[in-house]
């Protein structure tokens, strides 16, 4: 069970807004890079986010470049899950590979600052602030196995192979 506060973002939050190209020189310095997470979308996010909090966005979250640093720094900021109406393909796969759940649901029903409770096993989200109960789209079994191992690297360490 994951629990945290909702940070709301709009539609089309690109990987350039999550980790801009101008910070490419920090990509081998992840703790520094993480201080800038989502900076171009919300400059105060990095300083306000607390472990367990949840990024709640509109459609096509994470579109754009394949930079895996995007889900990586979101995870490093302590975010426990990303909820979105839809997510871009590469971001979704990268997030799972980093062990960060991306859950597709009707995020219009969640407001900024709401307390959320996410149950990965049952596929449900409770908005404790407004009482809404949401369900999220199923994660394909192959990805669920990777997520359950904590990401693709732990998965490969354990199995030494990929199986579907």
């Amino acid at each position: 069970m994951l629990r945290g506060k909702a940070f709301k973002f709009g539609d089309d939050i690109s990987t350039d807004l999550i980790v801009p190209g101008r910070l490419a020189h920090l990509r081998s310095n992840l703790p520094e890079l993480a201080k800038h997470v989502l900076e171009d979308a919300d400059p105060s996010f990095a300083s306000r986010v607390r472990p367990g909090d949840v990024v709640v966005a509109g459609k096509n979250f994470g579109l754009g470049s394949s930079r895996e640093h995007a889900p990586l720094v979101i995870k490093m900021a302590g975010v426990s899950a990303v909820l979105a109406r839809s997510a871009a393909r590469i971001f979704f796969r990268n997030a799972i590979n980093q062990g960060l759940p991306v859950l597709i649901c009707d995020t219009d029903r969640i407001a900024e600052g709401d307390e959320l409770e996410v149950d990965l096993a049952s596929g449900t989200i409770k908005d404790l602030t407004n009482g809404a109960a949401l369900t999220f789209g199923k994660i394909p079994p192959v990805m669920l196995r990777i997520l359950n191992e904590g990401g693709l690297i732990p998965y490969v360490q354990r199995y030494g192979n990929i199986k579907v």
């Binding site: 490419a24 895996e68 839809s86 590469i90 690297i153």
Partner: protein, 417 residues
């Protein structure tokens, strides 16, 4: 059963008859990284416990995004990547060779292959009939180590392009129009399969431009059939042996069909800050432009520089507009030099940048000032993309870019032709 291009390629590779929705493990013909995604790949590879690259001839490293490096941190990333390539014997394309996707097209990709790159525009090689898709650093690390990856066979949207293009209208205008029509997430998780009379008549440069931007509609892959154009292109780079014909089966199942009449298309432009915010160049007439950038994996080929040179021959860029030109590869630069395009462009006032990504992603070479407007032939205009969130980026074809460089504002290139 009748298959789409995606189903046929992934079926042959996985050795079973596959349909959209199936999940398969396929051998990878090429796995590659570039200098902004590669360092994480190297670290993940080391962490994974995989000792060796499965096949060094099928693993490539490109130093193109920050090339030459503008800062020590990035120079150290380059060192890390060179060391990795040397240790494992992978292919290395060092600073100055060009943008990864252009180099993949020139040197490596072939029809029917499966290619995964740690760069979203890896879809570019779909122009050659390769199932080429972008992934993250970790996926590519694992693909390098195991020589395979897992993929979901995508549903296919058929893009049927009929008729022929008007003068001054190119593949770039087609793909911008398509993205404007379906939206930036209109093809998420899907294969865009191009066909129809206008597509058969399209040269490889235009096909590469169109395939390159398939990802801007969210697509996993943008596939062209492999035909005479493909064969000629491969021969031109001394790789004729890679040619195999490849067409979708008649009766294949498509999720939907987008029908486009090429003859009514006009020069198109994407407005800030999303690629699907598309209109005609005509509509934007009078929009002041401070910088014009011609280059990138989208439109940095000899054919693109030819269009620019033809438009700018004997003319000068507007006094208030900087023109930056970055050939997509060393061989493109050499070709454009031989043909006299570089001289024409420099005489018209262009600054020629080294082959590579150059100004495209805002690490160096052409970062915009606050409030400045750039008209670029690249593929993305997201806020902050070119290094400054306070600037604005419009996207267009090389013809529109060159004509606008002369005018100092956005113009329809047909006006100056």
């Amino acid at each position: 059963m009748a298959g789409t291009l995606a189903e046929k390629i992934l079926g042959r590779k996985s050795g079973v008859d596959v349909r959209a929705g199936d999940i398969v493990v396929v051998p990878v013909d090429l796995a590659f990284v570039q200098d902004t995604t590669g360092p994480l790949t190297v670290r993940q590879f080391q962490a994974s416990g995989l000792k060796k690259v499965a096949d060094a001839k099928k693993a490539a490293v490109f130093l193109d995004h920050a090339a030459p490096s503008p800062r020590s941190e990035l120079s150290n990333d380059h060192r890390l990547l060179r060391d990795f390539a040397a240790k494992h014997g992978c292919l290395l394309f060092d600073v100055g060779e060009g943008v990864c996707h252009q180099l993949v097209a020139e040197n490596l990709a072939g029809p029917g292959e499966v290619i995964v790159g740690a760069d979203s525009h890896s879809v570019t090689a779909g122009a050659l009939g390769a199932f080429a898709t972008g992934m993250g650093s970790t996926d590519v690390a694992v693909a390098m180590g195991l020589g395979k990856t897992w993929l979901r066979v995508p549903e296919t949207v058929k893009v049927l392009v009929r008729g022929s293009f008007q003068k001054g209208v190119s593949g770039k205008d087609l793909i911008l129009y398509l993205i404007g029509r379906v939206g930036a997430d209109g093809a998420t998780y899907k294969s865009l399969e191009f066909g129809g009379g206008a597509v058969n008549g399209m040269g490889m440069a235009d096909r590469l431009t169109v395939a390159n931007m398939a990802v801007e509609a969210g697509a996993k892959v943008g596939l062209f059939p492999s035909d005479r154009v493909t064969e000629e292109y491969l021969r031109g780079w001394g790789r004729g042996h890679k040619y195999v014909p490849l067409q979708p089966d008649p009766g294949a199942t498509y999720e939907s069909v987008v029908d486009i009449d090429a003859s009514v298309l006009e020069p198109m432009v994407s407005r800030p800050h999303t690629v699907d915010n598309v209109t005609t160049a005509r509509e934007l007439k009078g929009t002041r432009v401070h910088q014009v950038f011609i280059g990138t994996c989208t439109n940095g080929r000899v054919e693109d520089l030819a269009v620019a040179a033809r438009t700018l021959r004997g003319k000068r860029c507007h006094a208030g507009t900087r023109l930056l030109v970055a050939p997509a590869s060393r061989r493109v630069l050499l070709g454009a030099m031989r043909k006299g395009y570089i001289r024409t462009l420099v005489e018209a006032g262009a600054t020629v940048l080294p082959p590579g990504c150059a100004a495209c992603l805002g690490v160096h070479q052409g970062v915009l000032g606050d409030g400045e407007v750039c008209l670029s032939t690249a593929n993305r205009n997201f806020k902050g993309r070119m290094g400054n969130p306070e600037s604005q980026i419009y996207l267009a074809s090389p013809a529109t870019a060159a004509a606008s460089a002369i005018a100092g504002e956005i113009v329809d290139p047909r006006e100056v032709m």
